[in-house]
């Protein structure tokens, strides 16, 4: 490694090109190579509107510690063509490194950047079998520029194109080499190298959020999965369709989301763990059956990969705006569990808890992942499967079966659930109010007692969560006057913002909630004690978690939201923290809609292009419309 360069530990690289140019593969290989060499990576991608072609990008953040988010600005931007250059140029740090095909007309946005021109297309066409190899030329070049061993990339080519024959492999290997060769003479221009070190102790894997959910479901003992395709949830269904059958499970694409949850409820009634995946529009359609599950006390897990709403909304954009629907979606009072993962690892671990809580409380569980997590991938230690507790529903004992009461009133609210075929009894499950046997009973006493029973199970869930201690996480300065509460994939960006703020001696405490209904109230009351300001930061318009905290806990909190289809960047959260500490950060006046005003809600301004405007530019790059 070249001793003349800074060694850095946190690098953000974005590859931008057309869908047809194979740019995603470049980024995937780049990430995979560095991950296998022992670094942690965090990867986000953005696909175009068009099925073929159209601007796409992949961004890889690399570090010795697992990156907490996608970051704010780019250290390196690699542009395959002029169109994507203009869509992405504003996101590069002023003194960042810009690598580009001569097609790009570089302008003064990047006046202070290190500019490295590499004839990607020309090299590919002339010497590597055609333009298709352009992406490997770029990969070779960046490898050369950063002194990353060629041996890390070559096996990836063999693995990917092994079945396509010698010629394809040859072309791609040639492209890799030629890119590298070309870059050799320019590598002195790049002022840093990535910190590298031998492999960590634990075996590391690289997972996408939806992979993690699929694997976590299998680990939980999932038996039946029924679903209907929808962006960004489809790959959960698709991965399980490939994998689950070999574990004895069944996966079926059905005619719509109503049928999907119907199948799931049937399978669960039959005594088998069952789940479905969808996005907001699908959850909206499932609302009646969620109420049935709540009333008839049938466990089930619904994975909701949230996207921008309302309605068809922004199918390929980030938003955390299905919380209201998850908690309140249903006529009548129909209790359910709501969980939200913050990162790819949670997508595995918390999926197991989703099944646990659902089985334990015999209640529907909604699992709110989101577009960001669905398309992100990250390194994480290989899970030790023996370390997970797997909870199964309560079944009747021989004693219970003597005078079996499916809906027996108990202290925890949970009663034994018989399994058809295996348990030699029978009972009726119904969406009507019922007595302990299960027969319809709409008397005042029955309704009151059964309502109590159903809601009592929420306390059972809280007890479990508080005991386990893994359903809320704290960060930052525990003594800080200013406290923020987050949920979902916002956690990491906020943690980074807190770290950045700490460097300026601005202290903030963070409480991150993974269990959103019922709320772990003791933890929250403990956390908010003696704070001067409590702010809930989230990605939706009306401040849904802020509202929920007020509603359920009768407490007062402030709301800070962003609703542009983009995730928070650490940088904009830092600005907000500075603002709370009394700094003038030039924040534009928040738009005051009625609800916003009443809530004293603060909204992140629409980002303007420029160096603070990563979002605007990403938006360009990711103006896609898969729905």
């Amino acid at each position: 490694m070249d001793e003349l360069h800074h060694i850095v530990n946190d690098v953000i690289v974005r590859f931008a090109g057309d869908g047809g140019e194979g740019v995603i593969t470049t980024g995937e290989f780049f990430g995979l190579a560095l991950a296998r060499s022992g670094l942690d990576i965090f990867k986000v991608t953005s696909l175009p509107a068009e099925i073929k072609g159209g601007p796409a990008m992949i961004q890889v953040r690399v570090g010795e510690e697992p990156p907490k988010s996608q970051g704010s600005f780019l250290d390196i931007l690699v542009c395959f063509n002029n169109e994507v250059y203009h869509l992405n140029k504003a996101d590069l740090k002023p003194n960042g490194v810009l690598i580009y095909d001569p097609d790009c007309e570089i302008d003064e946005t990047n006046a202070d950047a290190t500019k490295i021109e590499i004839p990607l297309t020309e090299i590919a066409k002339k010497e590597a079998g055609g333009a298709l190899s352009k992406n490997m030329v770029a990969l070779g070049a960046i490898g050369g520029l950063l002194d990353i061993e060629a041996e890390l990339f070559e096996p990836l080519v063999h693995a990917r194109w092994g079945k396509k024959g010698e010629k394809v492999i040859g072309n791609n290997l040639a492209a890799l080499r030629l890119g590298r060769d070309f870059a050799q003479n320019l590598k002195h221009l790049v002022p840093f190298r990535i910190q590298r070190h031998p492999h960590k102790g634990a075996q590391v894997i690289q997972l996408g959020g939806n992979d993690a959910i699929a694997l976590g479901s299998i680990a939980s003992g999932l038996s039946v999965f029924a679903g209907y395709p929808i962006t960004p949830a489809s790959t959960i269904l698709e991965k399980l369709a490939v994998m689950l059958p070999s574990f004895g499970g069944k996966v079926m694409q059905v005619e719509d989301e109503i049928a999907a949850l119907g199948c799931v409820l049937g399978a669960s009634y039959a005594g088998y763990k069952a789940a479905t995946s969808t996005s907001g529009p699908g959850v909206s359609l499932m609302v009646e059956e969620i109420g049935l599950a709540s009333m008839a006390e049938i466990p089930c897990v619904i994975f909701d990969a949230q996207r921008g709403g309302p309605s068809t909304g922004l199918p390929t954009k980030e938003e955390q705006s299905d919380l209201n629907l998850a908690i309140y979606g249903g006529h009548g009072d129909s209790p359910r569990i709501v969980l939200a993962p913050a990162n790819v690892r949670d997508c595995f671990d918390l999926t197991i808890e989703a099944f646990n809580l659902s089985e334990m409380c015999q209640m529907p569980t909604l699992f709110l992942t989101d577009f960001y997590l669905a398309q992100a991938a990250a390194t994480t230690p290989e899970p030790d499967l023996s370390s997970y507790e797997i909870i199964n529903r309560l079944r009747p004992t021989a004693e219970d079966l003597k005078d079996y009461k499916r809906f027996k009133l108990t202290e925890s609210g949970v009663s034994p659930m018989a399994k058809p075929y295996d348990d030699a009894t029978f009972y009726i499950a119904t969406g009507l109010e019922h007595n302990e046997i299960g027969n319809p009973d709409i008397s005042p006493a029955a309704h009151r007692k059964m309502s109590d029973k159903r809601h009592q199970k929420l306390q059972t869930a809280i007890d479990y969560a508080e005991k386990k201690g893994t359903f809320a996480r704290q960060y930052g300065d525990p003594e800080a006057d200013i406290a923020v509460i987050t949920w979902g994939s916002t956690e990491g960006a906020m943690q980074e913002a807190i770290d950045l703020a700490a460097r300026q001696d601005l202290s903030v405490a963070q409480l991150h909630l993974l269990l959103l209904n019922p709320l772990p109230d003791q933890t929250i009351f403990e956390f908010i004690k003696n704070r001067k300001r409590i702010i809930v930061a989230e990605l939706n318009y009306t401040g849904q978690l802020a509202q929920r905290l007020r509603a359920a806990l009768n407490i007062q909190v402030e709301s800070f939201t962003k609703c542009t289809g983009q995730p928070f960047t650490p940088y904009e959260l830092l600005k907000q923290i500075m603002f709370y500490h009394g700094w003038d950060t030039g924040q534009s006046e928040p738009v005051l809609s009625q609800i916003a005003r009443v809530q004293k809600q603060r909204q992140a301004p629409v980002p303007a292009p420029g160096h603070e405007g990563q979002d605007a530019a990403m938006a360009g790059a990711v103006a896609v419309s898969r729905i």
Partner: protein, 288 residues
């Protein structure tokens, strides 16, 4: 379970149906069929939707799931998918089936999921008090029991659907019709339907005596198929279904073809052998 005579399938719950309602006979015939087939209540599930007819599972000793309006078939499919050993019946009214639940029928049929779907057709919404159903007769004389209903007080503007023709078109592998006033053949049709491997559909003409009393009309229209018809002849079955003047009773069509269970079982062999062991650690290791 020891053999149970029909009346032992009765639960304590007293049917809420009106005196004379066709559904009583539908229920009695089911007890008969269950007894004849030696159905084990602990290994059987009856799924229903919402309606007078959908109350039926409450009155039968067996596992039961009284779901929500129109979702009978998805739930029944999920049960069979989870445990193919279970005997699964789905039951409901004409509204539950062909109005709000109509979108699920084609798919249950073409999947050939091995359940028995019994629709108690009274050409009306009973439970909600007499509104138009998708099989309510039209002014033009198609279907049964044309009447001005509370929701069509000035006239009907829809042609009734033809359930049997629909089910045949969807690919149902067993299609039959019964009549509550003829409980013996009805019990026999049930037996054949439950025995059939695959999706079996039985339309039971089961009059609502309060809101659409069609006994006379039906009595005049029925003709039992008995032996006169080749149940493997799809085209002939279709012709019978389109004979809307007559209510033919019996099995219209029956054909064995791979069920959903069969096909799902078959794919086990197609999955990647190294995964077949079901070793999750190995699968996870692929993500290194």
């Amino acid at each position: 379970m020891p053999f149970m005579p029909p009346k032992e399938y009765k639960t304590e719950a007293k049917p809420i149906w009106c005196p004379g309602c066709g559904d009583f006979a539908v229920l009695a015939a089911l007890y008969q069929a269950f007894s004849a087939l030696d159905i084990d209540p602990t290994k059987t599930v009856i799924v229903s939707g919402i309606g007078c007819s959908s109350r039926l599972p409450v009155f039968v000793k067996s596992y039961g799931f009284h779901t929500v309006h129109g979702r009978t078939l998805p739930v029944a499919t999920g049960i069979k998918l989870a445990n193919p050993e279970l005997t699964v019946l789905a039951m409901g009214g004409d509204g539950d089936a062909f109005a709000i639940g109509g979108g699920h029928i084609p798919h249950a049929a073409r999947r050939n999921v091995d359940i028995t779907y019994i629709v108690m057709d009274n050409f009306i919404y009973g439970l909600t008090k007499g509104q138009t159903s998708p099989t309510t007769g039209s002014q033009e004389g198609t279907g049964h029991g044309f009447k001005l209903t509370p929701t069509n007080p000035h006239g009907q503007w829809e042609e009734p659907l033809n359930p049997l023709a629909m089910l045949l078109t969807y690919g149902a592998s067993f299609v039959a019709r019964g009549y509550s006033a003829k409980p013996k053949p009805l019990a026999e049709v049930y037996q054949a339907a439950i025995r059939h491997k695959g999706f079996s559909f039985v339309q039971v003409l089961s009059p609502c005596v309060v809101f659409n009393k069609t006994y006379d009309e039906l009595d005049a229209a029925i003709i039992p198929l008995e032996g006169k018809h080749d149940t493997s002849d799809f085209r002939a079955a279709m012709d019978l279904a389109w004979d809307t003047q007559t209510e033919h009773l019996g099995i219209f069509y029956q054909k064995e073809r791979p069920t959903l269970t069969d096909r799902m079982a078959a794919i086990g062999t197609k999955s990647n052998p190294e995964q077949r062991a079901g070793d999750l650690s190995k699968l996870i290791a692929k993500y290194r």
